[in-house]
Assembly symmetry: C2
Homo-oligomer: 242 residues x 2
């Protein structure tokens, strides 16, 4: 049985210009792995309508779940909601349910719900809202595309809101063998062991510590006994290196 | 005049699984912006031959420069070089010039140049080598695709090696106005100013400090006097908010 797949679209010129370092990709990657959903691809694209619309269309067709981050605030460069609506030929306008959330919130906090802030209530007709406990302005889901904010605290909160609605696969287990030899020393036996265990994913990650080259070997899969056998073979191979 | 464009392909299951946090994207983004090359898109993809080959082909056609990160080490999951060769129908094997670099280095450091390490000398016939002063195993360039290591220290060194070979555009200048109002307050005048200055890119980045909402407004362009005029208009608009 294979796991459900996922892709992420990060929308933001500020990341492509190097001004901001993205944090949401790493967060989502960890959460999806815990839930046995395989994140297959992330695209970071600019605030460009054609780029957003075509990425949303292509990835919605190719993966079980799509998650977007960024571009749903109140300013002129926040165009994600309109682009997602366009990608699905859906109608979009200020929606009464989203407007009510914002109106109540701004009334409470004594700020003005002006036209710019009302942009955040623009939601496609067919969308389900995603709760935002941090700053209220909601995200939304159209088909399999989950549209969320770029601000990391809000993104995290929205991920929490959508998690219960996602169906995960078989929980992925991962075990690490810390090998005190360089990647190039262990590579040959490791390749053979990877061939022997086609159901496991075996990755090797070199490190350097106190001037010594070592390699963390991470074995991932769904069957604990299979992972244990692979780790034993790797340890045996390391012990018998020339 | 428009700037040259660039795209990056990050190859690595360890990033998509959330095990490792990518650092190379942020580094490359900053360096390219300094050199007036517009990074338009980043794709993070898994260690999958079809995904790598198709991303390399598509992005090589679409952008002036392409940079890849990861998958050129000595282990079974290091398949980037072979995939890039396949994308360009180029022949690939251990190449004498790369083999000599590795042979000299391993002889000096007293380690064995075994079959696994020789994988790092697999270079497409038409490629130019990229110097790696950190750990010697070279990157390479085929057409407009620059193939570099995923280890951040090596990636950075390789970026330094290729920079003199890239042609940049008009230097991009950026100026930031720190606005002490929420993004939703300044959004309307900001949208008008963005329309007035089609040659500038105006981004807004909300922040919160000591309980106060503010917005950093970043104006980017190539004409300093135009940027100055836009910043003045933004400051004037802020001063005259209700």
């Amino acid at each position: 049985m294979t796991n459900p797949t996922a892709a992420m679209i990060v929308i933001g010129d500020e990341i492509l210009s190097g001004r901001t370092r993205d944090a949401n990709m790493h967060h989502l990657a960890g959460v999806l792995t815990e839930h046995a959903i395989d994140l297959k691809e992330v695209r970071v694209i600019s605030d460009d309508p054609a780029a957003i619309t075509s990425a949303v269309s292509a990835m919605s067709d190719a993966y079980t779940y799509v998650f977007t981050s960024g571009g749903i605030g109140p300013t002129h460069d926040d165009i994600t909601a309109d682009c997602v609506a366009a990608a699905f030929d859906d109608h979009i306008d200020v929606r009464p349910d989203a407007r009510k959330l914002l109106a109540d919130y701004y009334a409470e906090t004594g700020r003005e719900l002006n036209d710019a802030r009302l942009r955040m209530a623009r939601i496609p007709d067919s969308a389900t809202l995603i709760e935002n406990p941090v700053s209220i302005a909601p995200g939304f889901v159209v088909k399999n595309v989950h549209v969320m904010a770029g601000v990391p605290s809000v993104f995290k909160a929205m991920v929490q809101s959508v998690l219960p609605t996602l169906t995960g696969g078989a929980p992925l287990i991962s075990e690490t063998h810390r090998c005190m030899r360089g990647e190039g020393d262990i590579a040959a036996p490791l390749g053979q062991i990877a061939d022997e265990f086609p159901n496991l994913s075996i990755g090797s990650y070199p490190f350097q510590q106190d001037g010594v080259y070592g390699t963390n070997i991470v074995v991932r899969g769904t069957d604990p006994s299979e992972i244990k056998r692979a780790i034993e073979k790797i340890a045996y191979a390391e012990a018998n290196l020339g």
